[in-house]
Symmetry: C2
Subunit: 711 residues, 2 copies
């Protein structure tokens, strides 16, 4: 795809020379031509006779449009006439447009009238690009017309993008079916459309000063696509891409922060109730085995450890300095820590940007940067890294080691993570507060966790991203190996965006986040509790090897609800092949139902659960099981739980390792049964048919993003 | 609205006489005229010259359409020509249509060619009616065209319906804004559209044999609406409306069933593990104070109570007979119970319709009906009614009395209800299994609970409705006073409906259920756990008196998530008036944020929570509070919980009784704090920002349906 960048540059420079940020239609068209984006035949006339002559060349009917740098809303100005079908109409139209425009704005400078071949057959779509504050250049695609503007059926991708990604956009709108041709309409030329999207992506990728592009409408027939109207807006001062450290630089810092040989606590205290006391006690009681250096100018020792007046006085090397002092003392102490050569400053203190003290925050960022110190926070509870028994927080130690790393932007959410983890016994590798994210952010943490063998899943609460593209890159690398779960808060607070284009008006913050996080392979959690449950369950489940989900249930009523939940979560209920159906039938009562759900009916003994579950686990065509249990006297909850745990373990030992989730309906004994199942790698919940399936759905979303289910 | 029923009857009888179930276009048009539904000027021509003459009368351009009872799909048959703009084209078109039609189906009987004024300006909508298997006649409204057929943006109501209900349908589609005129398009004439919907509703209400009506497209301009195409399908054997008992008859039976003076257990047993033993023990241990009569031909006494060989041998009157015997013995025992004059037969045994034994079920239905016995089940766990300490089930007694009555169609779901209730200490008035619903169904139970002062909320799990209209009527009566929560299982299993019309094709089962349950004022729960949580929380909350919701949070991070949840649940975040904003600001730190959420920030003492919460409760402009708590040393969880419970109680005593829900983020102590709050009428959940708001949203949905929030 050869692009004529020089031609684009010439147009942009001319506009800039005139101090314009909106290109005229002919300028837009020239840029489209330079990037191979097809537009209707046209020319600019400066007299009625010239208009007639152009119309004669490009063919009737034509559209006339005013060309003026001062008139942005051409229709309002009476500057557009459509469907002119003979040359007399063209002649009269030219004069009418000029008259309307000059009455609309007598001061407007008029460059002429654009004469354009009228296109209007086929599907009307919109293709555009905007500059998103988080993600930079993104392209947009949607169906044009009134309905889609009302229903906001549009999809976004990072620009530039591949042809395959562009093609994927065509299927990513709700009304995708329309483009394939319904009710006898012809299908759109998908190649031409995706090609045009790709070219728009390349254009804004090549020219950061192009702020917005609107090709609206684009008419797509079965034989091509033409952009009937082009609007391009410039930004004369485009935001530069944020500076980034290399992966090696990030890891050098993160490795010392998460696996420190020595931690200093600046503001360590012997006095209960002080943050500097809590941090000290947590480091000691948590079982951290590196050196702990309390820093306090007034105490010779704290909690039995020798204290130092300043970090400079510590005899050995220090990897991490935890700050537990008021904001006003931080700059001097950070300067000293920087000189000491610490890798990480854990900045617990509040009183920075979150209270309006932006300058104070900028000051410490600069001190940290000067010394090559990575800073976590400020305004955080600290961080946990359980493989090192490291609890550098003012909360309480956490001791259930496991594979999930959780991060939160808010302290309150961090406390919810801690409480939930503790009450469910969730196996955790790390809990990290990122707070104001003055330096270390999710991208740095993803880079560390991706290569951290103690972590096999990451869950992140975030309200914004400092560098959306950095996040996407880090997330993509991680997703290829381990799930990334994101709770994005502020979903419904649509950015009040000053929209200069249709595409801009459609680009609500959350829709852009949603599409791009999905494109990055991230599993987005709809709420806090979902994030926590996904985090708890995903690392315990093996990855599915295919899309065939089978429900086995002792209660028909649960089966219906579990089926609903499977559909809601994008799971595929396997069409059971006849031989497998027959095999299931052999185990269930004649009035039970095979098919899917497999309804083993209510009064069955443990052996019926065992036989059917073993069958599902052993048959290689089945890829995941959803079990619905019904509490009965014949198969009490703990009997069921122990049996299922055992069958799953036995089959796993034979290599039949599949995700198994269960919904337990029964009296309170089912709670203990769920605990037993969870502890044995079977994801089980009482009193809900939705949660186990939602968690399985999350695992599938990751597995698809990681490319594990192709072919 | 005068309707010419005689004219309709004449058309229908003519069709019936010819054995046709599809009306021709002219017949459809005649019916429309009789009901005041406007159609374009037209006539039927039986020669090309006649076509020309009609076209001359009604004006050009015209549309020509084949008229044949044998050709349903006119376009496919080449039987439609549009946009004929001169009389020569009409003449040629007539011949072309006849030729196409006879080559499409040489056997087709051709009545002529319809010549119709071409309408096409304005908004294209679809108005129709179908016969739903559950709800009978329902009307449908949607925007026409490709996009809506793809996006299924359509809404349903029971027919007949009022003009107001019809008007409401115009706002109930996702693309409602389109009809109000967007992008310079004119608004549709809402009166004309709602009027047409109302007339279609009246038509199918008056003529049960009209199975489906399709007005598609209808063109709506700012000055009226015209049905351009009419399709009407008949059902020569319409299903009769189900027979219904009067409210008094239902209550007579239900009162004896729920408040029995004597209960007989047919199949009572002294042997542990038998259902007849469990039922006996549960009646006795549950504390039921009426007479209990064990029926068993082989034992003189059971569990210390004198037993009787048959129910006929019982000396006193018996209100309820609980059946705990195999299906095959049921008919004879039921006959005996009927003769004894029991009011209710609690039919626990399985082995009826659910195992394919439809005849056996029909047999016992007839026995019950003959004796005027109301039968619950068969295939159920029984029923609880706590105000009478009545546990007529084979589960275990339930003793937390309260205001919620729960019913389930599935035994498994019933067990989940029991377990959840017990573990959360939910106050329950009744738990009822309806199983196969051979007789007693949700309508009967709603009729009882509506007038039962022990019940102030009903939650129902259902998979289908025997009599959708009966349910809607009973639910509407109840909703005016108490919330009705419904979990409808089988949401995603769209009925494979053989569609004879566009409207029929759009009428997926769940969309019809969803619209009509909403119209009935029912709060639909998206899942099992939601139903249970709504049931637990709704009776504890006072009804809100207005839409102004205020969030007060100690953690900004929770505030963002709580705001998301409010928007998701259709709640209105109050625009805080300046004086109230100032009053909040007086209590919070300068870097906190007033507005809504009110962010009191993290490190605040109990008094800040107290002052701001009291302010929200006392100000009459605030109607509900959502509190976000963040666990800190300064305000520990139980301090917060006790404080909030006390403030809420104090303000309640002053008449400031408002719904208060809370989300607690913190370490595990927050769980106990939530229990304390719940016990004191503050709906509180740990580790989730979604659940408390979802429950508040459910309360609001009910309050709106009950008409409590108008003006």
């Amino acid at each position: 795809m050869a692009h004529d960048q020089a031609a684009v540059r010439e147009v942009l420079e001319a506009a800039r020379a005139e101090g314009r940020t909106a290109l005229t239609a002919p300028e837009g068209r020239r840029i489209c031509q330079a990037y191979g984006i097809s537009t209707p035949g046209e020319g600019v006339a400066t007299s009625a006779e010239e208009a007639v002559s152009i119309a004669g060349e490009i063919g009737l009917p034509v559209v006339l449009k005013i060309v003026s740098p001062d008139i942005l809303h051409k229709t309002e100005a009476g500057g557009v006439l459509v469907g002119l079908a003979d040359l007399d109409a063209v002649r009269a139209g030219y004069d009418r447009i000029l008259a309307s425009a000059s009455s609309y704005d007598p001061e407007a400078s008029i460059d002429g009238v654009q004469v354009q071949a009228m296109v209007g057959a086929g599907h009307e779509v919109i293709i555009g690009a905007v500059t998103d504050p988080t993600f930079g250049k993104v392209v947009a695609f949607g169906l044009g017309g009134v309905l889609v503007e009302v229903l906001k059926d549009v999809t976004f991708r990072l620009a530039p993008l591949s042809g395959d990604d562009a093609l994927g956009m065509l299927d990513d709108i709700r009304a995708a079916e329309v483009l394939r041709g319904v009710r006898g309409a012809e299908a759109a030329d998908r190649g031409a459309l995706s090609n045009m999207i790709e070219r728009v992506g390349a254009l804004v990728g090549d020219f950061p000063e192009i702020a917005e592009v609107d090709l609206n409408p684009v008419f797509a027939t079965s034989e091509g696509a033409t952009a009937a109207d082009v609007r391009i807006l410039l930004d004369d001062d485009p935001v530069a891409a944020p500076a980034r450290l290399s992966r090696e630089e990030i890891l050098a810092g993160m490795n010392r922060i998460f696996k420190p040989r020595a931690v200093a606590v600046i503001g360590a205290s012997g006095e209960t109730g002080k943050i500097g006391n809590s941090v000290m006690r947590n480091l000691i009681n948590g079982g951290y085995r590196g050196h702990i250096y309390p820093i306090n100018p007034k105490a010779p020792e704290i909690l039995g450890l020798p204290a130092y007046p300043g970090i400079a006085d510590v005899p050995g090397e220090v990897d991490v300095a935890v700050f537990a002092i008021p904001a006003k003392f931080v700059p001097a102490a950070l300067e000293e820590a920087g000189r000491k050569g610490v890798a990480g400053a854990i900045m617990i203190p509040s009183g920075f940007a979150e209270t309006g003290n932006v300058e104070g925050q900028q000051e410490i960022v600069e001190i940290a940067r000067k010394h090559g110190v990575r800073m976590l926070g400020p305004n955080i509870y600290g961080y946990y890294y359980t493989p090192e028994n490291l609890c550098a927080t003012f909360c309480t130690p956490y001791d259930v080691k496991g594979g999930v790393a959780l991060t939160s932007q808010s302290g309150g959410i961090g406390m919810a993570i801690l409480g939930f983890s503790r009450t469910t016994g969730m196996g955790v590798s790390a809990i990290v507060g990122v707070g104001n994210k003055a330096d270390v952010d999710e991208d740095d943490l993803l880079t560390f966790f991706e290569q951290d063998d103690n972590t096999n899943c990451v869950a992140m609460h975030l309200e914004d991203l400092k560098d959306g593209r950095g996040f996407v890159e880090a997330a993509r690398r991680m997703v290829a190996r381990k799930p990334v779960i994101v709770l994005k808060a502020g979903r419904t607070a649509m950015g009040a965006r000053a929209a200069g284009s249709h595409t801009g008006a459609l680009a609500g913050d959350d829709k852009v986040y949603d599409d791009i996080l999905r494109q990055a392979g991230v599993v987005r959690a709809p709420g806090l509790n979902d994030m926590l449950e996904y985090a708890r369950a995903l690392p315990l489940m093996p990855a599915p090897k295919g899309e065939n989900v089978v429900i086995i249930t002792g209660a028909g009523g649960s089966g219906v609800l579990l089926s609903d939940a499977c559909v809601d979560n994008g799971l595929t209920l396997m069409e059971i092949p006849p031989d497998l159906d027959e095999a299931f039938r052999a185990y269930i009562p004649p009035f039970g139902a095979a098919g899917n759900p497999v309804d083993i009916t209510g009064g069955e003994p443990p052996s019926t659960y065992e036989n059917t579950i073993r069958l599902g686990l052993a048959d290689p065509r089945v890829h995941a099981l959803v079990i619905g249990y019904w509490h009965t006297i014949v198969t009490p909850p703990m009997v069921f739980a122990e049996l299922v745990a055992q069958v799953v373990a036995e089959e796993r030992a034979k290599g039949n390792d599949k995700p198994v989730v269960a919904s337990l309906a029964g009296d309170t004994e089912v709670e203990q049964a769920c605990d037993h199942l969870f502890a044995n790698g079977v994801i089980a919940y009482p009193y809900t048919t939705e949660k186990p399936v939602a968690v399985l759905g999350a695992k599938y979303r990751w597995a698809r993003a990681a490319g594990l289910l192709r072919g």
